[in-house]
């Protein structure tokens, strides 16, 4: 195969959403006959970059060349016309359609519209590659892995030249993954260009020819897979272990007691997929328990189960009021938990979607937790206003006034408002998910400081994080989740980034418990 020009070149691509810069001046080449792995942490801009190839987004600046010719990809249709097919992480399927109907959707074959012919062609593809999918099955009846398969068959059916797969193996069994990789290798040998987005380094080693790495929206480099080690790839992805100088006071051992005991917790989502599998751990007062893991490993479900927002399959979550009194949190909603006298604060991942109301001002958002107080049918904004002023002052929230809708604030300030409110309740347990995501350095340090102060007050803090450097310097212990299971709990003071990184991608390796 003679390769002269890259199949696709991206030049100086930048894209931002409001104040968030998702990609910054990224240039990338993809050649025919190779599998390129696109590697990067959560939020490093991989999916956004690929969405600009598939026509979902349009770059703010920069341009794209195909076979050396400059092209405009203004819509997904344009992308198809250039032979680009993308398998999205979130399935792009119509639920009430059959597999076949979904696969032929948008195709403009000449001649009669013949679903039967399409069905047999799909069946043929499935037989060739060993996919287990019934072309006449409705999508809403399918398991997650079957839906994924339909997505892959869809792109195969269209015979795309450039195939983009966004974490395709996340929902596949190892056997299905092997089959998929066999297909991808065949396609590569046919001279097609393939980009695969994945976190799993063993899969990168297994399938790719070349690895390109993004970090914080920027392109940081690439390497030939066969010449690189897993450790090198990890380092490039997470960056060097840097010293952040985050304070980590030692826990007050005198008053240390067990606060939250999670035993054999199993949670399934609405589709019936197991998100937490037999999870057990204990959170102590006066310590920060970090939770590490690739995104979607069950962090969200874990926190929501403790907060009373997530139905639980089995297991128990116990709250120790003191040495004698123990409360069971399972089956409780947030109001009942509060009525039991448990002050549980929760800083959720989706700040404007769950923790705050974007169109309301600071005062009204402060009131979310406290508006029921008192017997008057009217709300009392006085305390909330004081609290808003206090939070604005103490946490240096940059806002025109406390009457500004929080959706108008920058991400960091939104987070300060949320954290400020949750801490003001003087909690005994503080759950936080990605508390510093999207925040600038100063705001991040402020949040770390707040968490440490809570720890000093004897609060049991559970900190779900994505930046391993922060987890390593902030947390007393780190629980690592992998695919909904606990792959280990390590001591934050003695563990290394590599150790945690490896535990995130495969089970085992912990030394504590």
């Amino acid at each position: 195969m003679q390769v002269t020009k890259p199949a696709v070149s991206m030049h100086g691509i930048s894209k931002s959403f409001g104040a968030v810069q998702a990609n910054k001046n990224v240039s990338l080449d993809i050649n025919r006959g190779e599998v390129l792995a696109l590697l990067g942490e959560n939020g490093s801009g991989k999916t956004t970059l690929m969405n600009m190839l598939s026509g979902i987004y349009y770059p703010d600046s920069g341009y794209i060349e195909i076979d050396g010719k400059r092209v405009e990809i203004g819509s997904p249709k344009d992308a198809f016309d250039y032979g680009i097919g993308m398998i999205h992480q979130h399935f792009k399927l119509v639920n009430v359609f059959t597999a076949t109907e979904n696969i032929v959707l948008g195709l403009k074959d000449k001649g009669k519209f013949d679903l039967a012919a399409a069905t047999s062609k799909i069946q043929q593809i499935c037989d060739t590659y060993g996919f287990d999918v019934d072309p006449n099955q409705k999508v809403y009846d399918m398991s997650v892995s079957q839906k994924q398969t339909v997505e892959i068959v869809k792109v195969l059916y269209r015979g795309a030249d450039l195939l983009i797969l966004d974490e395709p193996t996340a929902v596949l069994t190892p056997q299905e993954t092997d089959k998929l990789f066999a297909v991808l290798r065949n396609m590569r040998d046919d001279g097609k260009a393939i980009i695969i987005i994945t976190h799993k380094l063993n899969e990168v080693k297994d399938i790719s020819d070349r690895v390109a790495v993004l970090r914080k929206g920027e392109y940081v480099g690439e390497m030939v897979t066969s010449e690189a080690t897993t450790a090198e790839m990890t380092n490039m992805m997470v960056g060097r272990q840097v010293t952040l100088n985050i304070d980590r006071p030692d826990p007050e051992m005198k008053y240390r007691m067990e606060r939250i005991r999670v035993k054999n917790l199993t949670v399934k989502n609405r589709e019936g997929v197991t998100k937490l599998d037999n999870v057990s751990f204990t959170a102590f007062t006066g310590e920060i328990l970090g939770i590490a893991g690739i995104s979607g490993s069950g962090q969200k479900e874990l926190l929501e189960a403790i907060a009373g927002l997530q139905p639980v399959e089995s297991g128990s979550i116990e709250y120790n009021v003191d040495d004698e009194q123990v409360e069971q949190l399972i089956g409780m909603d947030p109001l009942k938990i509060a009525d039991m006298g448990v002050v549980l604060s929760f800083v959720p991942e989706d700040r404007l979607g769950m923790g705050l109301v974007g169109s309301m001002d600071l005062t009204d958002n402060m009131m979310l937790r406290s508006f029921r107080r008192g017997t008057s049918p009217l709300t009392n904004r006085k305390e909330s206003r004081h609290l808003a002023e206090l939070v604005v002052d103490e946490l240096e929230v940059s806002t025109p006034s406390i009457s500004t809708p929080v959706s108008k604030l920058s991400g960091g300030n939104v987070q300060k408002v949320l954290v400020g409110r949750e801490i003001a309740a003087a909690p005994t347990v503080l759950l936080s998910a990605y508390a510093v995501r999207g925040l600038d350095v100063n705001s991040s340090y402020l949040i770390y400081d707040l968490l440490n102060r809570q720890k000093g007050n004897g609060v049991a803090v559970i900190y779900v994080g994505e930046d391993l450097d922060v987890l390593l310097e902030l947390c007393d212990r780190i629980l690592v989740l992998c695919g909904g299971k606990v792959s280990g709990i390590v001591d934050g003071r003695t563990t290394t980034k590599n150790e945690v990184g490896l535990m995130m991608t495969k089970l085992g390796g912990g030394d504590d418990q």
Binding site: Y58, G353, L368, R372, P377
Partner: protein, 362 residues
């Protein structure tokens, strides 16, 4: 290529200026259309319209009462809309309330003292309106049944129910109408104040406006409504029971529509027909939406709509046009205002295929 992107934020003053400007442009367009239809000069058109709304004390009072009635229905629908529940059943809820009022007036007119009768009418009409809205709300909360379509259908069930009772209570027999109820005794008629029969309605609705403003902005329930409407998952996060709030809010919404029905039957029409709501249930949707669901601004938007309709009606009478002329003008103004929101929320970006220059439009 043309791309549309969301605006970061538009200053309040600018967005208000744009909206007022558009209403101005729409009025000019309406004036021109009227001028073409009547051969008048546009200035004369506006003069006639103002004449129609404010030409005499009587016209002013009628105008005020009509604004009050429309405003009452708009206020009623607002709590539901704030919760993102599309209550298009105002028409039916008004009819249910009006029917209950008329029933009390006819059946109890000579049996209980007038004050008690009016109290019973109030309770009955409010309960009837509430029931009419609670049914779709219950199914929405329980099974997520589409509330837009359900409330819409309830309108016609109410219409036919009223049609049924109109014939049952026919007076005189064979006329197909009820006629003025209790014409002799005036039992169940809302009292006049200082001889003015419009004033009570205006005062009641003014009170209601303030009350609704306070309820939505300063009460705990109003706060819950806003949270549920803006973000159901945040509501769950702080322990608000979403389905309870839906049903409770719709009971309030329907009850106030029922109250409007009582004002219509007991206060202004003193009779019951299937068309007594006169489309207010639908017009109020637009009034509330134009005011961004703010009760105080609704005074202005219902005033605008009633001004258009009275003004156009005056033009129609003076120049021998059809009364429906007002609906056309109202429609045109609404189209303009509806279209404007786009330019406040989004901006249009033109990017040229070759250069990187980005040009910004409105």
């Amino acid at each position: 290529m043309i791309h549309v992107v969301k605006r970061k934020e538009m200053p309040l003053a600018q967005s208000v200026a744009i909206r007022l400007g558009v209403i101005g442009v729409a009025l000019v367009v309406c004036g021109i259309i009227t001028a073409i239809a009547t051969g008048l000069n546009p200035i004369g058109v506006y003069a006639t319209m103002i004449q129609g709304s404010f030409g005499s004390p009587r016209k002013v009072w009628i105008m005020l009462q009509e604004v009050a009635l429309l405003l009452c229905v708009s206020l009623a629908l607002t709590p539901a809309f704030r919760m993102k529940f599309w209550n298009l059943g105002g028409e039916g809820q008004i009819l249910a309330g009006g029917l209950a009022s008329a029933a009390c007036m006819i059946l109890l007119g000579d049996k209980v003292p007038n004050a008690a009768l009016i109290a019973i009418m109030f309770v009955a009409s409010v309960a009837a309106g509430a029931l009419w809205a609670a049914v779709p709300a219950f199914f929405k909360a329980k099974f997520n049944t589409n509330e837009t379509l359900f409330t819409l259908m309830m309108n016609y069930v109410a219409t036919q129910l009223v049609a049924f009772y109109v014939i049952v209570w026919e007076n005189p027999k064979g006329s197909g109408t009820i006629g003025v109820i209790n014409q002799q005794s005036s039992a169940g008629w809302l009292p006049t104040i200082a001889g003015n029969k419009h004033l009570l309605i205006v005062l009641l609705v003014a009170l209601l406006t303030v009350g609704m403003y306070v309820y939505l902005n300063y009460s705990k329930q109003g706060y819950e409504i806003s949270v549920v409407g803006e973000s159901p998952s945040t509501a769950r996060y702080v322990g608000i029971k979403v389905s309870k709030v839906i049903v409770r809010t719709l009971i309030i919404s329907g009850a106030l529509c029922g109250f409007a029905g009582m004002l219509l039957v007991g206060g202004s029409a003193h009779t019951l027909t299937t068309s007594i709501a006169a489309g207010r249930g639908f017009t109020a949707v637009m009034v509330a939406w134009l005011a961004k669901f703010n009760p105080l601004i609704m005074i202005g938007s219902s005033g605008l709509i009633e001004f258009m309709s009275h003004g156009a009606s005056e033009i129609a009478t003076t120049y021998g046009l059809n009364q429906s002329f007002g609906d056309i003008l109202t429609g045109i103004i609404l189209f303009f205002i509806i279209g404007t929101e786009f330019f406040i929320t989004y901006r249009v970006v033109l990017s040229h295929n070759k250069g990187k220059s980005v040009e910004e439009l409105g």
